[in-house]
Symmetry: C2
């Protein structure tokens, strides 16, 4: 009767997961549907439910059930799938029980206030206003690392939440390789861009694109590449996101710009990548780690693969460009496909991370990683941030940041207590490249299939190799298992070199 305690654990986890699903829906509704005046009541409901979830989760071990199972796990007395459930549940549980209730409350309160102050500081371009709150958050995050424990850097304890298994050191290693390549590569592209004529094909697209038509086009593409709209929705919000309530109910959002159809399109493709992952998690294991995503980096690899590797490629538009031209004859009838492709893949150093292209993007991330690591390890002081930011932007991109609002204050993350989160964006690109190269090897016809609008094989490959495994493998195991080697920046570098070398440096 070995199976009884594990079944009881699954039941308890499922009960917690129902509440987490509900919490996700409350947040989706808040951002997409809720009437304005409902916000205070909703905040109270969310806080109440979040508290209940915490309570319920912690109490799964109130009778020692999880501790007993952990003991069995250590004695290697569990089946593989049971081992995953117990080890992953233990990881989360262990972290939570190490953090005193009072500390968690203090942190939540500080983050809530810091976020408000940050928004005001960005608005007023006043870093000094935000500084004491940033300092407070850094203090709390270091304390958190102390509670949780770590190896060589307190940053290890923070990144572990988002990218389990990665450390300051292992992250620095792959990102440094990337940096060494990117800095000269971007400089060469920038120089080449300058030489290009102002009339060149990389100019922007001009026209008026009604939202409804954009939505129809995006939805057609989403459906075509495999997003199940009977198990999901696409709506509009200020900040696009993807959110899994259950593998049968996955909601993504985008935002529209009536003079740029690629603005909403890029978000939709990105979020559909996340959404396909959420829809591909095994519903039969709902509520257990077997049906949870591996890490933020792996999640991001799914969005980046679709957004950048596939939907910014020539084969993809060979299929979809005629459809885009049909939907918006003005201006696309007059723009050759190759010009469109080039416009879409324009590289240009800029201040704002979220508006940057797939080449420069990663240098924005590396800059943030270096700074937040320095802040947590104590080698950078918060008060020096504007100076540090500007000097790094000059060094990495060759551009002068005019204001802190367009610099160090641009991102929401630190004010939300998210330290250790940024690197997952670039790790996502590295994972994506490594998976993508493997997929191409497994499917030599892939580009031809894409050009014919056949996306089924890609979805199947991703489902079989990545989505369906949930947390069965760690990120590191998954990469090795799928690609035969550990995470490396090599494939991403090769990809950038081939694609953008061809576009800019030939």
């Amino acid at each position: 009767m070995n199976s009884k305690p594990i079944d009881e654990l699954k039941k308890r986890l499922r009960n917690v997961s129902h509440l987490v699903s509900i919490l996700n829906l409350l947040e989706w509704d808040r951002d997409v549907m809720m009437p304005k005046k409902g916000s205070d009541a909703r905040a109270a409901s969310i806080a109440h439910l979040a508290g209940m979830i915490h309570e319920k989760f912690v109490s799964i071990d109130s009778d020692g059930l999880l501790t007993d199972l952990k003991r069995k796990l250590d004695l290697k007395k569990l089946k593989d799938s049971e081992a995953t459930i117990v080890s992953e549940t233990w990881r989360t549980f262990d972290r939570q029980r190490k953090l005193p209730e009072k500390f968690v409350e203090e942190s939540a309160e500080a983050v809530s206030k810091a976020h408000t102050v940050w928004a005001e500081a960005r608005e007023k371009n006043d870093f000094k206003l935000f500084l004491p709150w940033l300092e407070k958050i850094i203090r709390l995050k270091r304390k958190e690392a102390d509670y949780v424990g770590y190896g060589s850097s307190p940053y290890d304890a923070l990144i572990d939440v988002f990218e389990p298994g990665m450390t300051a050191e292992s992250t620095a290693r792959v990102l440094n390789d990337l940096k060494k390549f990117l800095m000269p590569f971007i400089a060469r592209i920038a120089a080449s861009t300058k030489r290009m004529s102002a009339k060149g094909p990389t100019r922007g697209i001009k026209g008026h694109f009604p939202i409804e038509q954009q939505a129809a086009f995006n939805e057609m593409v989403a459906r075509k590449i495999g997003f199940d709209l009977e198990a999901g929705r696409i709506d509009a919000t200020t900040h696009p996101f993807a959110l899994g309530i259950h593998p049968t109910d996955v909601r993504i959002t985008t935002r529209y710009n009536e003079s740029d159809p690629l603005y909403s399109f890029a978000s939709v493709i990105h979020e559909v990548g996340h959404g396909l992952y959420e829809q591909g998690l095994p519903a039969e294991h709902f509520g257990t780690p077997l049906a949870e995503f591996v890490s933020l980096g792996i999640h991001e690899s799914q969005s980046r693969m679709w957004q950048n590797f596939i939907a910014q490629s020539r084969p993809f538009w060979r299929y979809f460009y005629p459809k885009l031209q049909k939907e918006f004859p003005k201006p696309f009838r007059k723009i050759p496909a190759e010009d469109f492709y080039r416009a879409m893949n324009k590289v240009e150093p800029s201040f704002i991370r979220t508006e940057s292209d797939e080449v420069t993007y990663n240098l924005h991330i590396i800059l943030r990683f270096e700074i937040e690591k320095g802040l947590i390890e104590g080698t950078i002081k918060a008060k020096d941030l504007p100076k540090v930011w500007k000097s790094k932007m000059k060094e990495y991109f060759g551009i002068k940041v005019p204001t802190d609002s367009l610099g160090v204050l641009q991102d929401v993350h630190w004010s939300s207590g998210l330290i250790g989160y940024f690197p997952t964006y670039s790790l996502g690109n590295l994972y994506a490249a490594q998976f993508f190269m493997r997929m191409k090897k497994d499917m030599p016809n892939m580009n031809r299939q894409i050009a014919k609008g056949e996306f089924g094989p890609i979805k199947s490959w991703l489902r079989k190799n990545i989505h369906m495994h949930g947390k069965t493998h760690t990120a590191a195991q998954l990469v090795e298992r799928v690609t035969g080697e550990p995470l490396t920046s090599k494939y991403f570098i090769n990809y950038l070199e081939a694609k953008y070398g061809n576009l800019y440096l030939k």
Copy 2:
């Protein structure tokens, strides 16, 4: 320190109410937004949350807090508002604790199955299929009455859930008065209608009315009469409803028929009436009975007052008809306002309750009330229902019911275990008429204000006299307090006689 236990009770009730709000949102989302394939997971989440709500509610007295307060209440040691909170909480609590857990589960399961079988039976026009399930539900409902206890009729224990304070006897009294008036009145109208030319002004409206334009018109009206769209939404569903998540977040729905704009309009006005009540409940008391609606009948009085008494009146359309003509010049430019008014107020005996007019509607309800009362009191047998139904339809309306699907199987209520619910629809009409007459007395200019599009005074009157009190007064107390006399069918009869006598019998 008398206030401490009551504050603790309020806190516990508020915590339960947060979960009830969340449950409401889950149901709204299921009916309005959820992708199709999400339904199983949603059903599981809803069941889980409903179970938690029950558990939390019952446990408010686990340490005797409520029992102690009840004792204080009986000794008249509580302030008025505290007394309301304790007595109303006790009423719900007392009923729940009298029902054994096992019985509740058995009932829930039976209802769930009965509902499925009923849908099939209606589809197939096969009453015999439904019969065993209907019999089971009646048995369970009688048992429920036994557990709860009652005075002279087991029906008392059932109607008390929906219309606290009303009994089989008191309901029969007011509805019999109404019936005595309605039967000859409807017969006279039917005879008069027959005499009218087929070309008369009561013919239907023909044309094509795009949904978006209907929605825009409905929303304009909703806003104008006082529904706060920053604290609410209007969406589309198969079955229209109004649902309060919180006074600051009230959601109503309607359904569209592209060849009849009054179809969606009638639902919107009806649900806006409910919605205004929900928005008018005192948010500062959220979570306690002070911010809950009095009864289903009182709730229905708010929807009926707007839908029938106001939005089917000449003054209302004096203001809105030109706007309707502007939105849909075809066909309304050519239809005189008076013809439109008459078409809208057409009276005609028919089979289906939900499609009937405001005169015959109540006879449909009386028929159902008499039958369900008979079923529970044992004077009517379930197996005889088709026969009883047909004979009553013949007697009351003078029409022959062709099939059980268009007869005894048409409504969802009994299959959902809702016995004692039907009368609240007609009680709503009676309350509405009685309130409406009082309002008119208090505001002699009301019709002129309506004709000018000034609805603020009506909303204020309703808020002050009804909405803001929550459950402070019982339905009976509220009616006496507002109108100076107990519930009577007199005002509704006067209203029908004046309006429809003028239209049909002059």
